[in-house]
């Protein structure tokens, strides 16, 4: 590759933090005007690499070249001025300002008097959005936009700074499927204009769709850098995890037992309508549907987080009423919430304390903790769940996403619940850890637990469920047995193209 084709070059770059080598002797080139994917499991060093490019960190040794010169940023602002921008999952926009104001935040066009030239700002923002071929009003308030459009505003903001390298960190994580195509179109437009995109994603299909080349990181080292055309998905996964993953979805057929959970006519005004279904011991029932179809709300209603307007819940055949999560927990129900960090874990507490949290009543005598029992329980969970942590006293915030999710699983497993409500159990988790979570689900199944699993990932629903409930506008639009599952049928039910008569549970 000709020298001036290379926009970024890593030459033996390493980054050492106290006690960890986050990046070790990293070397690869990024071609100008290409889409370059960066993949690897959580903790592989992707974030450290981005932080070096954006001036947050500096490498401890080795060189990083940008347009042939040493990258020498003292702070993120210098990186911005040099044309390197990162767009993170948590978007950095000011919701109460307009689109145009956000695009030119920090560098507004000035009129001759030194004041902000509002008219020019709107026109220029409009031009950028037009270039991106999206229909967004520059005068609209950012908080009125959906996530996908906010992302476009971020991209426009980057372009307004004349960005030459745009780093996108999991750009599709929070946006609806149909918006992904728009994003890809924008990425291709940018590429034609010579902008380099560094694309980070757990979704390997996206990598193959959009990226020209891919660099695989593992444990802080570059495993390989290759054109995507010379790879297939299985090979890429092998490079990422360093071993063959025989099955991505290790499904074990169910041996359904007695009824574990039954929901009858459950409703919540404006959110859920007449939901009825049952769940048997030893089966995994998937819940599919579009974002906003009421999937998460269903779990929350069963768990007693949100009030319900009517309907009943039966656990093990007995009618129960849950005024608060505590009641549901006492009845043997566990919830793994959608947002691990805000709902599932207490990040400042240790692994041990998080695992013990729902079980502290069992682990204390008249309110005083029995520390030995807590240690023993958390050690057992660490081993069972294969939680990788230097110590049980480690704060959960320092663990990787996959290990955090295993802590959430462990904290419930310690209570031995009969019913698990999983909401997006593998979101933001790398391939290897995903399979571990699936294996744990199988284990729970074998031990007679019932699992209700909400997921936006259709392959996961298809791969792991014994039955699938498809939701649409707060209702159950249909139910499919494992034999009749296909992507098309689930989608048709979810968007209302086909109605299948409700079938009763396999009797």
């Amino acid at each position: 590759m000709a020298e001036n084709d290379v926009v970024l070059r890593f030459e033996g770059a390493s980054k050492r933090f106290p006690g960890v080598l986050a990046l070790s002797d990293v070397a690869f080139d990024v071609r100008r005007g290409s889409v370059h994917a960066l993949v690897g499991e959580n903790g592989a060093g992707k974030s450290t690499l981005i932080k070096i490019l954006t001036g947050v960190h500096r490498q401890s040794s080795g060189r990083v070249l940008y347009n042939g010169a040493d990258l020498n940023f003292n702070n993120p602002h210098e990186a911005l001025l040099a044309g390197i921008t990162a767009i993170y999952q948590e978007l950095n926009l000011v919701p109460t300002l307009t689109v145009a104001e956000n695009v030119f935040l920090g560098h507004p066009p000035k009129a001759s008097a030194g004041t902000v030239d509002w008219r020019a700002m709107r026109v220029m923002a409009g031009d950028l959005l037009k270039f991106l071929e999206v229909d967004i009003d520059p005068g609209a308030l950012v908080r009125t936009l959906g996530v996908a459009r906010k992302q476009v505003v971020e991209i426009a903001k980057a372009l307004s700074m004349d960005a030459r390298v745009i780093i996108m960190d999991e750009p599709t994580a929070a946006i609806p499927k149909k918006e992904i195509d728009t994003l890809f179109r924008i990425i291709r437009t940018l590429r034609e204009r010579g902008v380099t995109i560094i694309y980070i994603s757990h979704h390997l299909d996206e990598v193959f769709t959009i990226a020209d080349a891919v660099t695989v990181l593992r444990d802080g080292r570059v495993v390989d850098t290759m054109p995507t055309a010379e790879l297939d998905e299985a090979e890429l996964i092998r490079l990422m995890v360093g071993r063959e993953l025989t099955e991505q979805y290790p499904y074990h057929p169910a041996k359904p037992g007695a009824e574990a959970l039954r929901v009858e006519g459950l409703a919540r005004k404006g959110v859920l309508k007449n939901i009825s279904f049952s769940l048997r011991a030893g089966e995994v029932v998937g819940v599919s549907g579009m974002v906003g179809s009421g999937r998460t709300e269903l779990l929350r209603a069963i768990y007693g987080v949100d009030p319900v307007s009517s309907g009943s819940v039966y656990v093990g055949g007995a009618a129960r009423r849950f005024a608060a999560p505590r009641d549901a927990i006492e009845a043997g129900i566990a919830l793994l919430p959608e947002e691990r960090k805000t709902g599932g874990l207490v990040l400042l507490l240790s692994v041990m304390d998080n695992i013990g949290l729902p079980s502290l009543k069992k682990l204390s005598t008249r309110g005083v903790m029995r520390d030995k029992d807590l240690t023993r329980t958390s050690e057992r969970m660490r081993d069972l769940m294969n939680i990788k942590t230097p110590s049980l006293k480690q704060r959960v915030m320092n663990l990787s996403g996959g290990n955090q999710q295993k802590v959430v699983l462990g904290k419930w497993f310690a209570r031995d619940p009969k019913v698990y409500l999983f909401d997006e159990p593998t979101r933001g988790i790398d391939v290897g850890a995903k399979v571990e979570i699936y294996n744990l689900m199988n284990r729970l199944k074998e031990e007679g637990a019932a699992i209700l699993m909400v997921s936006s990932e259709l392959p996961e629903i298809l791969g792991m469920s014994d039955r699938v409930l498809v939701m649409r506008e707060g209702e159950i639009a249909g139910e499919l047995g494992r034999g009749e599952l296909s992507q098309e049928r689930v989608l048709k039910l979810a968007i209302g193209g086909e109605s299948i008569g409700r079938k009763t549970a396999v009797d």
């Binding site: 608060a324 999560p325 874990l345 207490v346 949290l357 005083v368």
Partner: protein, 331 residues
């Protein structure tokens, strides 16, 4: 100061496994400060003055003990200074009422103490219930209570301070066990109890959990709506207990007492290493923090710095303690 922190590090490495690093480092800062003050005034490091400091610190420390729970749980209580005054005055009135009813000295004093702690507890309960059921931030709920309790304190005694306390009452503040003043003993006992609660009980674990993430705590089955009022009751009761100590020392209950005490107590907790966003902190840090705040006040007194400047110093302490916490987090 920097030197203090440096030496604290090596100290911490080999010393108390019990104490977290922050507690050790502020203890070191305190010792350094004592040495400096001793250099500036020979009066400082006398047994009399040290005992005087622990005596003076007891009021701030007892309030800070209660405020610690609130701050660890991710909230704040601005009303402790006002609750302090209201509870004291209420207890004084209870004593005189009992006296008029010919209850005798000891039952009268007992009634007074009970009334004071109960008033503090109830005011705390109101704070907690407002936070939970009116869904207002603790900052606002306790800011309101700051005015309400102060006002009620004045109303019930018509703005007139209460005097005429018997020796059985004042002994609480003025008596000694050997050379050690009772308030010092009360303070140490209270901190020991709270230390055990925070370290070894479910309640303690839940307090930190709520402070770090109330939503996850609720989804884990913690009765957050029960915990929060209880935490505020503890805080209010501690403010009341502190007011007993002060009333006993001064022999009077003042409706305008306790002003600015919230500033000192909150400052002590932050200095002690608590995080402003909750979920972190060590109760012994609050104790040392209270002694440190008092040391500074005492030192400034000895050096003849005016009381007005002491207020300024108090405000600066809070700002720098929180700034230190932010810097720690960024690292």
């Amino acid at each position: 100061m920097e030197q203090g922190e440096e030496s604290a590090k090596s100290f911490g490495a080999l010393a108390f496994g019990l104490l977290r690093h922050q507690v050790v480092s502020i203890t070191a800062i305190m010792l350094v400060m004592w040495v400096i003050l001793w250099q500036m005034s020979p009066h400082f490091l006398t047994v009399r003055n040290i005992l005087e400091i622990t005596l003076q610190a007891s009021v701030t420390a007892v309030i800070a003990a209660g405020v610690s729970f609130v701050i660890y749980a991710g909230m704040i209580d601005l009303s402790v200074g006002s609750i302090f005054a209201m509870a004291a005055v209420g207890g004084g009135l209870a004593y005189h009422a009992a006296n008029n009813a010919q209850w005798g000295t000891f039952p009268g004093v007992a009634a007074s103490l009970l009334a004071t702690v109960a008033i503090g507890g109830i005011a705390g309960l109101v704070n907690g219930l407002s936070v939970v059921y009116l869904r207002i931030p603790a900052f606002v709920a306790t800011l309101g209570m700051m005015g309400i309790a102060r006002g009620i304190g004045f109303i019930i005694c018509d703005g007139v301070p209460i005097y005429g306390l018997p020796k059985a009452y004042t002994e609480i503040g003025q008596g000694k066990f050997g050379p050690i003043p009772y308030p010092t003993i009360i303070t140490i006992a209270l901190f020991l109890v709270f230390f055990v609660i925070l370290r070894n009980t479910r309640f303690g674990r839940f307090t930190y959990a709520i402070g770090s993430n109330a939503e996850a705590s609720r989804l884990s089955g913690i009765k957050v709506n029960f915990m929060i009022p209880v935490i505020f009751v503890i805080c209010g009761a501690c403010a009341a207990l502190a007011s007993i100590i002060e009333a006993a020392r001064l022999g009077t209950m003042q409706p305008n007492g306790g002003q600015g005490y919230e500033l000192q107590a909150i400052g002590a907790v932050y200095i002690g290493g608590a995080s402003i966003s909750g979920g972190e902190g060590h109760i012994l840090g609050s104790l040392i923090g209270a002694i440190l705040v008092t040391t500074i006040r005492n030192g400034l007194n000895i050096l003849g710095v005016s009381a007005f400047w002491q207020l300024v110093v108090n405000g600066l302490i809070i700002i720098f303690a929180v700034a230190a916490d932010q810097i720690r987090k960024r690292r």
